[in-house]
């Protein structure tokens, strides 16, 4: 079964049915919901998604818990926790990831590397330059 890593845009624009989501990104996440692909979701992506869904500055207080439960209930979404192995890989690869703007993106790329460089579902241009992506 094909595997991908999800970035925050992809997940959030999927749950908001935002037309800005890439055609291939939507297809892959739809397939995952149908049990036909697997998507690795780094834990940091979930934290960021929750933070965006409950952004007090914008007056958002959406039911992020329901979102997390749905995701967790679907066995084709594999939550990848931030573990010591992730930190070791982060340390080992940091020099090659300095072109990225923040540690969030670096952790997403690290997750892809841990799973043998599987494609990342993202629209981030800087990630596209250093890792396999799909959008």
């Amino acid at each position: 079964m094909e595997r991908y890593v999800a970035d925050t845009h992809a997940l959030l624009w999927h749950v908001t049915a935002d037309p800005r989501i890439g055609t291939r990104a939507k297809t892959i996440i739809d397939k995952c919901e149908a049990g036909e692909t697997q998507i690795i979701v780094p834990a940091i992506v979930l934290v960021e998604a929750v933070s965006a869904l409950r952004n007090p500055r914008k007056g958002f207080d959406y039911d992020a818990g329901f979102f997390l439960n749905l995701l967790q209930d679907n066995k084709n979404f594999l939550i990848h926790n931030l573990t010591i192995e992730t930190a070791i890989s982060f340390n080992d690869n940091l020099d090659g990831l300095l072109s990225l703007h923040d540690d969030h993106d670096r952790l997403v790329v690290i997750t892809s590397k841990i799973f043998d460089d599987i494609p990342i579902i993202t629209r981030a241009e800087d990630i596209k330059l250093i890792a396999p992506t799909i959008w």
Partner: protein
């Protein structure tokens, strides 16, 4: 018991009891309400409707469009990232 009595085939049960061919004590097997008939045969007189069965048959909510209409922009996500990981480089 209210749920059962509402859908129980009462006329059939009454008919069976009146004719002496059925038991006055219906029992439940799975979703079937049954009574004992002649020669140890089993007569189904109704089915139970469990309200929670309707919940099972409803399609599972999908992630797609779960928060349809909510607009999250690039800058919102960038802002969240900066809250979690301030720029260092």
């Amino acid at each position: 018991m209210d749920t059962i009595s509402q859908i129980l085939d009462t006329p059939k049960l009454n008919q069976l009891i009146a004719s002496g061919s059925g038991s006055a004590n219906p029992t439940i097997e799975s979703e079937n309400i049954i009574v004992d008939g002649w020669d140890n045969d089993v007569i189904e007189i109704g089915k139970i409707w469990y309200p929670w069965h309707q919940t099972y048959s409803q399609s599972k909510p999908r992630l797609w469009g779960l928060f349809k209409g909510l607009e999250i922009n690039e800058e919102d996500i960038a802002e969240t990232k900066k809250l979690l990981f301030p720029d260092r480089f």
